[in-house]
Amino acid sequence: MTYIKPKFHHPRLPKNDLGYNKKDYEGSISTLCAGCGHDSISAAIVDACFELNIEPHRVAKMSGIGCSSKTPAYFLSNSHGFNSVHGRMPSVTTGANLANRSMVYLGVSGDGDTASIGMGQFVHVMRRNLNMTYIVMNNGCYGLTKGQDSATADYGSISKSGHVNTFEGIDLCALAIELGATYVAQSFSGDKSQLVPLIKAALAHNGFSLINVISPCVTFNNNQGSTKSYDYVREHNQAMNILDFIPVRDEIKTSYAADEDKMVELHDGSTIKLHKISPDWNPEDKLSIVMALQKARQQHQILTGLLYLDRESVELNDLINATHTPLNQLSEKELVPPLSVLEAINQNLR
């Protein structure tokens, strides 16, 4: 592992439409364990933002506490980041978003930060349909405190120390669908070809997007008996679809004739091309995905891909009728009522 990041850039690195090369989307060097799934997710975020032509400074990187919450330092160094308190990233992101709705909000969290200490805020941020992408780097354990089971650890999963988990794990995707999240996806940190388009589509979605990414902890939860190890996830991963994200300005070149191909257009005109593998499921039908998730659970399978999408999603700012101008850009002119208004109030109080 190197601790000093090389400054050398290849002069002919490809640039995106904005003239940025991929290096412009990177962060400082990761201090996570070598082989950590989280680093692959960071790399996928870099790819997604680069390919989507997002200006790095228009992104706000939000996190809580834990290994996962450190990662915003390892991508998009030209973006502001906020490493808040444990389990409270959703509220900070909500406030930030209300202050400036024009930015892109990318939250990263872990299974402890989301499903235990942060469960309250996780649930409510979905209910409010905050316009953000929420990536859970889910390894089923507490890495920073050396491997205790988390609330997403599966029943019967065995930790590195040999401890057998006696409680049911929380299925974040099922919960999200139940609570009104408008974009729900699941993926695996080792499957970049699936993860990058999922992140891109999530960033384009107008509302709350959850991507639960199984991201093995190489140090504390990659052992025999763990259900969040690289080997286990590879064996039990069942992709629901193969998807491709097509930004609004890109012409759709391929023809999709196959019965199971579906074109899903998002609010901004961009499109998701879904090649469905599982025929008895429709990403815009809650009932079918709830059923599929239950079945998968019984069969010890991990469903990955885009699970649910509500294209009619109305995000929080519109739900509360907030003005389109970012609130942090309003000046005294818009904010201070005339003195006469105050004088009239005084008069009514006499």
């Binding site: 406030g95 003005t323 609130l327």
Partner: protein, 601 residues
């Protein structure tokens, strides 16, 4: 002996019966006659069916603090009748609903009983069941008008204002009022030996509660993001903000809101949202009470250490734990001053009147952004929820907000070597950037973990100590720019000093007059903010004995003074009222006179 404009009327009602508006009507009619009046709602933590009291003090001299001793009790609640009769001053009056005969064992020789068959009158005169109930309240107000010499014309005007557009309600209300007034005329001698007489003492004052005034201060002060969780007694602050913002902050072209309000899932989320908004360059606040502050403490530590502006209103109530949610106290002084683990300190603004609630709330956004730290407006239930006579609210239309040290894209282009936590100006306050300002400059990682001047994670001891010491310097800067204390004398007149803050002001100022009437000389000082202004230390050092008057059990401001200013505790005397009702001048006088009988060391 005739006592003009100097007495206390207390109403004993059942909550949820519409008595509050009738009682306010009574207070307002006296206010309209140009006489200073203060009204205190003493209510239960309940929606319907429990005893509630409303106390109105009428004071020619303009004393607005609570006064012990009830001259006239209006009793419409059989549940509390025994206690209510006992609470009347000897020689006082007890007005009650005589539809049912008064229990003989309740009878007291030394007070006057005025029985009016309120229920009978209403049953006879009104047919609508709801009116029968509601107009009982108006009938007793009519009776009081006759007993105390209040002009019925004042009520006519008040009804006309209250029922604008629902004019048909005016006549039955006036009818009820006359029924009460006429009953007194036919059955009792009037007016009483204490009564009101028209004056011109109110001038341009207004009658408003502190929560409404603070909400208006937030509107004028530019708050755009408000997050909150309902808790008594702060709830009405946010609902007032919503009411005013919905009238004053609508974009004329689009009809959309130039503000955002979110009712959070709990206080943790409420402060988190406010902090997120402050970080992103909006003026934001949340309002809560003691239990909420406990929950918000972790976040307050983050905002202190990561240096983020946010405004928090603590409308204090009686603790600990759930305590007495509908009773007043000043018992969050230590909690708010040092909220959160580790070494932290927060800016407190302590208003004493609704006018100050308005001004300080508006100013708090400037201070939060100037100092890049949480600013806590520390009010209390008495100030927040009771109507107080106060100066009219004003706004300087040429005023611009002080947004503090925020760098623009142009600034970032011209500055070399910017670091988020560098103390460039030597005042302990660094320069900050708002997300999204510049494509390649000014981004940083905000964190509650230890960081260096460039906001980079660091566990280096020297770096840690340097940053922590700079935060001390920042608080020293705060002490210089925050409101100076109010001094009640130009030069010291005495070796004895009196210190108070917040709503204790009302009783303390009255007590000061009483003390002087008793031939005791004392200087006084009212604290308005924390960290302490240097004049507070000077005042403490230049008096041999200082009384600190507070509304909590543990003398929290005294502890804060000892801790922060290293004043010898022996010379700091405590005067503490913490029973949940506002402190009175008599209580203060009693304690000070007792102490001053013993020689000063």
């Amino acid at each position: 002996m005739s006592r003009i404009n100097d007495f206390v009327v207390r109403f004993a009602n059942v909550n949820g019966t519409g008595s509050a508006s009738a009682n306010f009507l009574f207070a307002k009619s006296i206010f309209r006659m140009g006489i200073p009046v203060s009204a205190k709602n003493i209510f239960p933590s309940n929606i319907q069916g429990l005893p509630t009291w409303y106390e109105v003090r009428i004071s020619e001299k303009g004393y607005l603090g609570r006064k012990a001793g009830i001259d006239l009790m209006v009793s419409v609640n059989p549940q509390s009748m025994k206690k209510d009769i006992a609470s009347v001053k000897s020689g006082g009056y007890f007005l009650y609903d005589s539809t049912k005969t008064l229990h003989s064992e309740f009878y007291r020789e030394d007070i006057h009983f005025l029985g009016i068959p309120l229920m009978d009158i209403c049953n006879r005169e009104f047919s609508d069941p709801r009116q029968k109930q509601l107009f009982k309240n108006i009938v007793y107000v009519g009776a009081l008008a006759r007993l105390l010499d209040i002009s019925l014309d004042e009520f006519q005007k008040l009804f006309e204002e209250q029922f604008k557009g629902k004019d048909k309600l005016i006549a039955p209300n006036m009818k009820a009022l006359h029924l009460g007034s006429d009953y007194v005329k036919d059955h009792f001698s009037f007016p009483l030996e204490f009564r009101v007489e028209r004056r011109n003492l109110v001038r341009d004052a207004i009658l408003i509660d502190g929560n409404s005034a603070a909400a208006l201060g937030a509107v004028y002060g530019g708050a755009t993001v408000v997050s909150w969780y309902p808790i008594t007694p702060s709830t009405s602050l946010v609902s007032s903000f919503e009411k005013y913002a919905s009238q004053m902050r609508i974009d004329p072209l689009t009809g959309k809101n130039n503000f955002a309000i979110v009712q959070a899932e709990d206080e943790l989320a409420a402060i988190g949202m406010a902090i997120g908004a402050g970080w992103n360059g909006a003026r934001s606040f949340t309002a809560t009470s003691g239990p909420g502050i406990s929950l918000m403490s972790e976040f307050l530590g983050l905002a202190y250490y990561a240096e983020l502006p946010v405004v928090l209103v603590d409308v204090q109530r009686a603790g600990p734990s759930t305590g007495m949610p509908t009773r007043t106290q000043q018992s969050d002084v230590i909690l708010t001053a040092y909220a959160s683990h580790g070494d932290t300190k927060h800016v407190l603004l302590i208003p004493s009147t609704p006018k100050e609630c308005f001004d300080m709330m508006a100013d708090s956004f400037d201070f939060a952004e100037q100092l890049q730290t949480p600013v806590i407006l520390l009010t209390d239930l008495d100030l927040g929820m009771n109507d107080h006579m106060t100066e009219p609210l004003t706004w300087d239309e040429s005023r611009t907000y002080n947004r503090g040290k925020v760098l623009s894209a142009d600034d970032l282009e011209s500055i070399a070597g910017w670091g988020r936590y560098k103390d460039v100006d030597g005042d302990g306050i660094p320069y900050r950037t708002i997300p999204g300002t510049h494509p390649t400059k000014g981004s940083y990682f905000t964190r509650g973990s230890s960081h260096d001047e460039n906001a980079v994670y660091s566990e280096d001891s020297e770096t840690y100590v340097r940053i922590m010491n700079r935060l001390v310097k920042k608080m020293e800067t705060a002490a210089k720019i925050l409101p100076a204390p109010q001094k009640y004398q130009e030069q010291n007149q005495s070796d004895v000093g009196i210190i108070f803050y917040g709503t204790t002001r009302y009783a303390a100022e009255e007590a000061l007059d009483l003390i002087r009437e008793n031939g005791i000389s004392a200087d006084a000082l009212r604290i308005k903010a924390f960290p302490f202004h240097e004049e507070i230390k000077l005042f403490l050092e230049s008096h041999e004995q200082v009384f600190i008057i507070e509304q909590n059990r543990d003398a929290q401001m005294r502890s804060l003074i000892i801790n922060e200013l290293e004043i010898n505790p022996k010379k700091l005397k405590k005067i503490l009222n913490f029973d949940g009702t506002p402190i009175t001048a008599d209580f203060i006088l009693q304690h000070i006179s007792k102490e001053l009988l013993t020689p000063v060391n």
